[in-house]
C-alpha cells in the first residue's frame, strides 16, 4: 500500500517531499515523437511541460471568453477592432498548433496506442472534436470562403470555451476517484473546504471563486468611472448578478457541508457556529447588498451599498494563513494596543482642549470648538499636517511642537508592538514546526501521513525547499548529537565542557519543547495542587519560558 511506504530521512528528497517540480528525467535518445510526447503531453511524467501547457491553453480560453464578451460592446469593439481580430488570429494559430501537436503525438498516447489507427481514433475522440470545432469555422470562412452567418460564426466561437473541459474533466475524474464511496455531503465538503479529498477540482473551484471575486471587485471600481459605466452599464449589472448567483450558491454549499468540518459537528449548532465565523460573515456581506438593493430600492436610496460589494475582496483572505496570523497577533496584543489607543485618545482630547483654550480668541473661525480642535490635534499627532488649521499664538505654537514630538512616539507604539508580536508569532510557529519535524523524524523514517503534515506546515509557513532542507539538516545534526550524548554517562559528559554545553543545550531545548507542547494552565494547576516543584524550579521554568 502506498500509504504505508516509509521513507528514510537519510534518503529524503525535499523537492519531492514538497512536490516542487523537478526537471523531468526524460532520456535524450528517445525517438523524436516519443521524446516530444514525454515533454509536452504525457501526464504521467512529473516535471514536464504538460501542466504548464494545459494552464496556458486554459488562460487563452478564458481570454477568448472575455474577448467574446467585449466584442458585443460597440463602444469597446469599434475603436479596437483590429486588436480583436489580431487576438482572434493569434488564438486560432495557437489552437491549430495545439490540435496538430495532439494529432501528431496521439500515436504515443496510451488512450489511442492500441487502436488500428491511433490518429483516426484521436480525431473521433470527444476532446479532439471539441478542439476541431474551436478552429474549423475560422478556416471554413477565411480559407475556403464559405459564407456563414455572422451570428452563427460567433456562436461557433463560443464552442472554444468547451476546450476548458480538457482540464476540468480529468480533475473531476480524479475528484470522483478520491471521493468514491463517500456521501454527497462529504463530496460537497471536499469541493468547498480544504481537505485531502479535494484535489485539483477543489483548487479549480477556489480559483474560480477568486477569479469572480476579482472580476466583481474590478467591475465595482470601473463602474465609478463615468465613461466606462456609461458604455458598460448593462454588462456591469449582468456581471454583478452572475457574481451574486455564484457566491450565493457557494454560500449555501458551505453552510450545508460545514458540518463535515472538525469543530462544526451538529446539524444546527455546527451551522450556527459556521454562520458566525468571520469568513462566513464576509461571504454573507458579499451577497447582501445585491438583495437589499433589489428588495428595498423602491423604499430607500441604497446606492451607497454598492461600495460594500468591495467587501468581496475579503473573500480572498479565506485560507490565507498570513491573515490568520495577523488576527492572532492583534487579538493576543489587544490589551497593549488598547492601552496605547487609550493614551492616544487622552492626548488628543487634552491637546485639543488646550488648543481651543489658546487659539479660540485669536482664530474663532478655525478653533471654533473642541471637536474642530480634535481634528487639528489628530492631524498634527499623526504627522499629516494639512495646514488648513494651524496655531498662531505663542502658547499654541509651543504646544504644537510638543504635540508633534509626542505624536511620533505615540503613533509608533502600536506599529512597533504589532511588528514585534508578528515576528514573535512567526518565530513561535517556526519553533513549533521544528518540534513537529523533530518528533516526526525521531524514529529515522517518515510515512505518508507525516509527509502530508510536513507539506502542509511548509505551505502554511511559506517555507521553500532550501529552508526545509536547512531545518531538516539542523534537526538531523541535533539528533546525531543527541544520540552521541545520550550514549554517554552523565559523569563523562560533565568532565568535557564542550559536551556539557551541548548536553545543557539539549536539556534546555527539551524543556522549551515541553513548554510549547504542554497545556500551560493544566501544568500550573498540577504544580499548585501537588506542590511538586520548589519556588526556584518554578522560577527557572518561567525563565526558560521567557515569562520573567
Amino acid at each position: 500500500m502506498e500509504d504505508r511506504k516509509l521513507i528514510s530521512i537519510k534518503e529524503l528528497d525535499v523537492r519531492e517531499l514538497l512536490e516542487v517540480d523537478k526537471p523531468a528525467d526524460i532520456p535524450h535518445d528517445l525517438p523524436f515523437r516519443k521524446w516530444l510526447y514525454s515533454w509536452m503531453l504525457d501526464p504521467a511524467i512529473p516535471g514536464n511541460f504538460q501542466r504548464s501547457f494545459d494552464k496556458w491553453i486554459g488562460l487563452l480560453i478564458i481570454a477568448n471568453l472575455f474577448s467574446l464578451i467585449f466584442e458585443t460592446v460597440p463602444g469597446i469593439y469599434e475603436p479596437y477592432k483590429h486588436w480583436f481580430e489580431f487576438f482572434d488570429l493569434f488564438s486560432i494559430a495557437i489552437f491549430t498548433v495545439e490540435y496538430l501537436l495532439r494529432f501528431y503525438l496521439s500515436a504515443e498516447d496510451a488512450a489511442f496506442k492500441g487502436k488500428v489507427s491511433s490518429r483516426l481514433a484521436y480525431v473521433l475522440s470527444p476532446f479532439a472534436i471539441i478542439d476541431a470545432l474551436a478552429i474549423v469555422p475560422f478556416y471554413l470562412v477565411r480559407v475556403f470562403g464559405l459564407s456563414i452567418d455572422l451570428h452563427v460564426l460567433k456562436a461557433l466561437r463560443v464552442l472554444r470555451l468547451l476546450k476548458i473541459l480538457r482540464i476540468v474533466i480529468p480533475a473531476y475524474q480524479e475528484f470522483a476517484a478520491a471521493n468514491r464511496g463517500r456521501t454527497f455531503r462529504q463530496k460537497v465538503h471536499a469541493l468547498i473546504f480544504d481537505s485531502p479529498n479535494g484535489g485539483r477540482l477543489h483548487e479549480m473551484f477556489q480559483l474560480f471563486i477568486a477569479g469572480w471575486v476579482l472580476i466583481s471587485v474590478f467591475s465595482v471600481i470601473f463602474e465609478s468611472v463615468h465613461g466606462l459605466s456609461y458604455l458598460l452599464n448593462i454588462e456591469f449589472v449582468i456581471l454583478d448578478a452572475v457574481a451574486v448567483t455564484i457566491f450565493t450558491i457557494e454560500y449555501c454549499m458551505r453552510m450545508y457541508s460545514c458540518v463535515e468540518e472538525p469543530g462544526y459537528k451538529g446539524t444546527v449548532m455546527g451551522r450556527w457556529r459556521q454562520f458566525k465565523s468571520p469568513s462566513t460573515v464576509i461571504d454573507f456581506l458579499a451577497i447582501l447588498p445585491f438583495f437589499l438593493e433589489v428588495f428595498l430600492d423602491h423604499l430607500l436610496d441604497l446606492r451607497f451599498l454598492r461600495v460594500f460589494r468591495l467587501t468581496r475582496l475579503l473573500k480572498l483572505t479565506r485560507g490565507n494563513d498570513a491573515t490568520a496570523t495577523l488576527v492572532k497577533v492583534v487579538s493576543r496584543e489587544w490589551p497593549v494596543i488598547a492601552a496605547a489607543g487609550f493614551i492616544m485618545v487622552l492626548l488628543v482630547v487634552l491637546t485639543a482642549s488646550l488648543g481651543y483654550l489658546f487659539e479660540y480668541e485669536a482664530q474663532p473661525d478655525k478653533f471654533e470648538n473642541i471637536p474642530t480642535s480634535i481634528y487639528w490635534a489628530v492631524i498634527t499627532l499623526a504627522s499629516v499636517g494639512y495646514g488648513d488649521i494651524s496655531p498662531v499664538t505663542a502658547p499654541g505654537r509651543a504646544m504644537t511642537i510638543v504635540l508633534a514630538f509626542i505624536g511620533i512616539g505615540i503613533f509608533a507604539i502600536p506599529a512597533a508592538l504589532l511588528s514585534s508580536a508578528f515576528s514573535d508569532e512567526l518565530h513561535k510557529e517556526r519553533e513549533e514546526l521544528k518540534n513537529n519535524l523533530y518528533k516526526i523524524m525521531k524514529d529515522g523514517v517518515i510515512d505518508a501521513g507525516e509527509v502530508a503534515i510536513i507539506r502542509a506546515e511548509a505551505k502554511r509557513m511559506h517555507l521553500g525547499v532550501e529552508e526545509v532542507n536547512a531545518l531538516i539538516n539542523l534537526i538531523q545534526h541535533e539528533l546525531d548529537k543527541e544520540a552521541d550524548l545520550k550514549s554517554l554517562p552523565i559523569s563523562t559528559i560533565a568532565q568535557r565542557p564542550e559536551l556539557a554545553v551541548e548536553h545543557y543545550k539539549s536539556l534546555i531545548s527539551d524543556i522549551r519543547s515541553l513548554a510549547l507542547l504542554t497545556d500551560e494552565a493544566a501544568f500550573d494547576a498540577t504544580v499548585k495542587a501537588r506542590d511538586s516543584l520548589t519556588a526556584s524550579d518554578i522560577a527557572l521554568w518561567r525563565q526558560i519560558q521567557g515569562k520573567t
Partner: protein, 211 residues
C-alpha cells in the same frame, strides 16, 4: 462474502439522503430566485439604457441642428438661429384663467414666443421628430426638468438640458450652468449639457454639445 467484494461494496456511491435532496432543492430554488432577481435588475438597467438613448437622440439632434439652423432656409423655423424673438400672444401681465384639467391647463398656458427654446421644444415634441419619444420608466413622454433629485423618484427617466454661460474674463469660475428654460433665446449658438435621470433619479451625463 470475500474481502474484495466487501471492499468493492464499500466503494459504491452512497445513496442520497433526504437532507441531500433538500439541499439540492434549495440550490435549485436559490438558482431560480437569484436568476429572476438578476433578470429584474437587467430589465431595470435596460430602462436606464433606454433613457440614455433618449438623451443621445437629443444630443444627436442638437449637434446636427447646430450645423444647419443658422442657414436662411432652415426647415424648422421655431428652432432656427439668428431669428429675433417675437412677443407671445398672451400679454406678460395678463392673469391666467383657472383651468380644471391638465389638458385645459396646457391649452390655457400662453404659447411660447418664437425664437425661444420653449417654441422650439413645443415644435419638436408636438409635431417634430421627438413626438413619439417615451420615458421607458413611465411609458409617457419624458419630462424636461431642472435637475435630477434622488429624493424624488418621480423624476426617473426625465431629461435635463442645461446651458453653459461664459462668465466675464477674470471670474473665478469660467462658466455657469443653468437649466435651459422656455424663455431662453436660441438666436445665437449656445453650449448645452444633456443629462438623464437613471433608475434612482441620479443624473447620468449624456453629452456636452453645441446648439
Amino acid at each position: 462474502m470475500d474481502a474484495s467484494t466487501e471492499q468493492d461494496r464499500s466503494l459504491e456511491p452512497k445513496d442520497l439522503t433526504g437532507g441531500d435532496y433538500g439541499f439540492i432543492a434549495l440550490i435549485v430554488v436559490v438558482l431560480i430566485a437569484v436568476t429572476l432577481l438578476g433578470v429584474h435588475s437587467v430589465r431595470v438597467a435596460l430602462k436606464t439604457e433606454g433613457t440614455k438613448r433618449n438623451g443621445e437622440q437629443w444630443a444627436a439632434w442638437f449637434t446636427k441642428a447646430s450645423e444647419t439652423r443658422f442657414a436662411p432656409d432652415y426647415a424648422i423655423a421655431a428652432c432656427a438661429g439668428g431669428a429675433k424673438p417675437v412677443a407671445a400672444p398672451a400679454a406678460a401681465g395678463e392673469e391666467a384663467k383657472p383651468a380644471d384639467t391638465p389638458a385645459a391647463d396646457a391649452a390655457a398656458a400662453p404659447a411660447p414666443a418664437a425664437g425661444t427654446w420653449g417654441a422650439c421644444l413645443a415644435h419638436l415634441t408636438g409635431a417634430g421628430e421627438f413626438k413619439d419619444m417615451v420615458n421607458p420608466f413611465t411609458g409617457k413622454a419624458p419630462n424636461f426638468i431642472p435637475a435630477c433629485n434622488p429624493a424624488d423618484r418621480s423624476l426617473v427617466g426625465s431629461i435635463v438640458i442645461e446651458k453653459s454661460t461664459a462668465n466675464p474674463p477674470g471670474s473665478a469660475v469660467a462658466t455657469v450652468t443653468s437649466q435651459l428654460v422656455d424663455a431662453d433665446l436660441i438666436a445665437e449658438k449656445m453650449a448645452l449639457k444633456i443629462s438623464v435621470c437613471d433608475k434612482g433619479s441620479y443624473a447620468v451625463k449624456v453629452a456636452e454639445i453645441e446648439f
